[in-house]
């Protein structure tokens, strides 16, 4: 694997760490040990590679979006994670984590989900390996991502609605952590993004780095050069980290993360890096939307997957060092991004992904761009239909 930005104690610069109740420390140490052993075990890596090839359908294509390119002025390549099994990049992580959970002898898996893609991907991996699966999901998200609720149930998972707080991703993570504190001795918690206590941010980033490793090789082969810019949407930030990690050592490649500006940066939004300050949530120190007493804000985004008041610690670190740049797109801009890709390429992207597309639409760019097309938008058609005049 590539240069590891994470220290052994789980810190990315001043961000990360392990802020959890004592009851979870043993399980996190066990997971860290198991992952360190697995990642250098040829047999595990062989199994993981086979799953990525035969179940996920990797490598996913890198596709030159010519008509979308004409619209935005740059030469745009789409890294097609929407073509991965279950329709998003999330499956790269869940198959790896459930493979690891089995190796650790865990008999049950749990997950949180926002947009439902991670829940579907976890339910898929659990069904594949024959493990029982419980997915926690905010009640608000269950309404707006109903299709994915049904998919999870059909895959045999129990979906538990969470009514507390803002009834979105943040609260689903709280509830999953409560389950885990209770059942940690038998249960593996499949976290869906590069968030949470160490070793999760590093574990998930490693499993998603296949996106960037493939994309770099593909763009060099097809375009004959490295891109000038690599763009991805950022909620917790797993698809962005997975893509960015392929290009960390290429100093000339600009890395751009696009956060949700929601209703606008001065109103409700999900722009934790652009608008947040350091704090501790869900086991890690990172940039958070919070009030002056440290209460976590209710985020807002039209996309459930970006509707989160925090961000993975590796992104906070990349922002602090300047290696990556973070910009924002509003709900309305994301909808415009969705429509532009549908019209020019015949692809319905996820509303999360649409934020990255929106960035290219509103910022005249030249050169070669690799954009992480993190997921497909079938789950969002009801939300979009309600907006239609």
């Amino acid at each position: 694997m590539k240069t590891d930005p994470v220290s052994s104690a789980g810190w990315f610069g001043d961000f990360g760490g392990r802020y959890v109740p004592e009851a979870l420390i043993g399980a996190l140490e066990e997971l860290d040990d198991a992952w360190n052993a697995a990642r250098s075990d040829e047999a595990f890596l062989h199994d993981l590679g086979a799953l990525h090839r035969d179940v996920v359908g990797r490598p996913t294509p890198l596709y030159e979006a010519e008509r979308f390119s004409q619209r935005v002025g740059a030469r745009v390549f789409l890294k097609r994670e929407d073509l991965a099994h279950t329709g998003a990049h999330k499956i790269n992580n869940t198959l790896g984590q459930v493979l690891l959970a089995r190796r650790m002898g865990k008999s049950r898996v749990i997950a949180e989900t926002g947009a439902g893609q991670h829940g579907v991907a976890t339910a898929t991996a659990a069904a594949f390996f024959g493990l029982p699966c419980v997915v926690y999901m905010g009640a608000t998200d269950m309404r707006r991502q109903h299709l994915n609720v049904v998919r999870m149930q059909m895959l045999g998972a129990e979906v538990v609605g969470v009514e507390s707080g803002s009834a979105t991703l943040k609260d689903a993570i709280n509830e999953a952590l409560r389950d885990w504190v209770t059942n940690v001795e038998t249960t593996h918690y499949v976290i869906g993004s590069v968030v949470g206590p160490h070793p999760y941010p590093e574990l998930v980033a490693s499993l998603q780095s296949v996106i960037g490793d493939e994309a770099r090789a593909q763009v060099v082969e097809v375009a004959g050069e490295l891109p000038t810019e690599v763009v991805a949407c950022v909620g917790g930030g797993s698809n962005a980290i997975g893509l960015f990690r392929g290009f960390y050592d290429d100093a000339g490649v600009r890395l751009v993360g696009v956060e949700a500006a929601g209703e606008g940066l001065d109103r409700r939004n999900g722009a934790s890096i652009t608008r947040g300050r350091p704090g501790v949530l869900h086991g890690a120190r990172s940039l958070l939307l919070q009030d002056d007493q440290g209460l976590i804000a209710h985020a807002h985004s039209i996309s459930a997957g970006l509707d989160y008041p925090g961000v993975g610690p590796e992104h906070s670190w990349l922002a602090s060092t300047g290696r990556a740049t973070y910009v924002t797109a509003t709900d309305d801009e994301a909808v415009a991004g969705f429509k532009a890709l549908a019209e020019t390429e015949g692809i319905l992207p996820a509303l999360e992904t649409s934020h990255a597309l929106a960035h290219l639409l509103s910022n005249a760019s030249s050169g070669t761009v690799v954009l992480g097309l993190s997921g497909r938008g079938d789950k969002d058609v009801e939300t979009l239909a309600e907006l239609a005049p």
Binding site: R18, V20, P21, A23, G165, Q290, I296
Partner: protein
């Protein structure tokens, strides 16, 4: 502010089992809260005051709902410190880490001391991440109350207990706060393992819901922390009901041989 350890050890030396009720700051409301503290103090050796937080991942339904209600009523975690009145009973702040991080560790300690707080319990700050806060707390004369879990290794219990300066909080069971049918069978084992590592008083908490549970816990422990069973009474029936309940627990504990 009281020297918590001296205060608790004076009680245990006289053969008394320690009773520490938990109340949520700002419940039932801003005005009524001080009288709740006063009411539960009557039978308490110390009172644990919860600072409401938006994302209380160690809390079950009762305490989580109380925190949401406090915040909805306009009482944030730092506001609670301003609501506390002076009491003869030591007050302990139970807070998640982010409000401390947000205001700054040193400033938080100073504000806690000014509010009459004697010790800190921070359930999401494990020993590895708490070095700086523990040093600052000590500088301010605040006791540090670390938590030990049933899954803590003996090596970790040694390290955790060594950081304690008030008492050691033995978590009786795997799980979040809440009322339970019976006391976990794991409680006694956790207490024994803490005893092997420290001379500090060892109190059992999480799932201690009745006088019967308290008596069972105190066959090995020096005392108990009772949270959800107190908060539920304050929320549903008022401070008088919580006080009556604690009176019953107190007299059951006093009958222990």
């Amino acid at each position: 502010m009281t020297d918590l350890r001296a205060h608790l050890e004076a009680a245990t030396r006289s053969g008394r089992k320690l009773l520490v009720p938990y109340v949520m700051g700002g419940i039932p409301d801003r005005v009524g809260f001080p009288s709740v503290v006063e009411a539960v103090s009557e039978y308490a050796d110390a009172v644990e005051v919860g600072l409401p937080f938006s994302d209380p991942l160690m809390d079950g339904p009762v305490i989580a709902a109380a925190g949401e209600r406090a915040i909805a009523g306009g009482v944030g975690p730092l506001d609670v410190l301003d609501l506390l009145a002076r009491t003869a009973t030591p007050l302990l702040a139970m807070t998640y880490y982010n409000p401390i991080h947000s205001v700054g560790e040193g400033d938080f300690c100073a504000r806690a001391v000014a509010a009459g707080i004697s010790g800190l319990i921070v359930p999401d700050l494990p020993v590895e991440e708490s070095t700086r806060l523990r040093a600052l707390a000590a500088d301010h004369g605040l006791a540090w109350i670390p938590l030990v879990a049933p899954t803590s290794s003996s090596q970790r219990i040694e390290a955790i207990a060594a950081t304690g300066t008030g008492f050691v909080y033995a978590v009786s069971t795997m799980g979040v706060t809440g009322v339970r049918e019976s006391l976990s069978e794991r409680a006694a084992a956790v207490v024994e393992r803490c005893r092997a590592a420290t001379d500090l008083p060892v109190l059992v908490g999480i799932g201690v819901s009745s006088a019967e549970h308290a008596v069972a816990a105190c066959r090995s422990a020096d005392g108990v922390v009772i949270g959800s069973a107190v908060v539920a009474r304050v929320m549903d029936e008022g401070a008088g009901s919580a006080s009556e309940f604690l009176k019953g627990v107190r007299s059951a504990l006093d009958r222990l041989p």
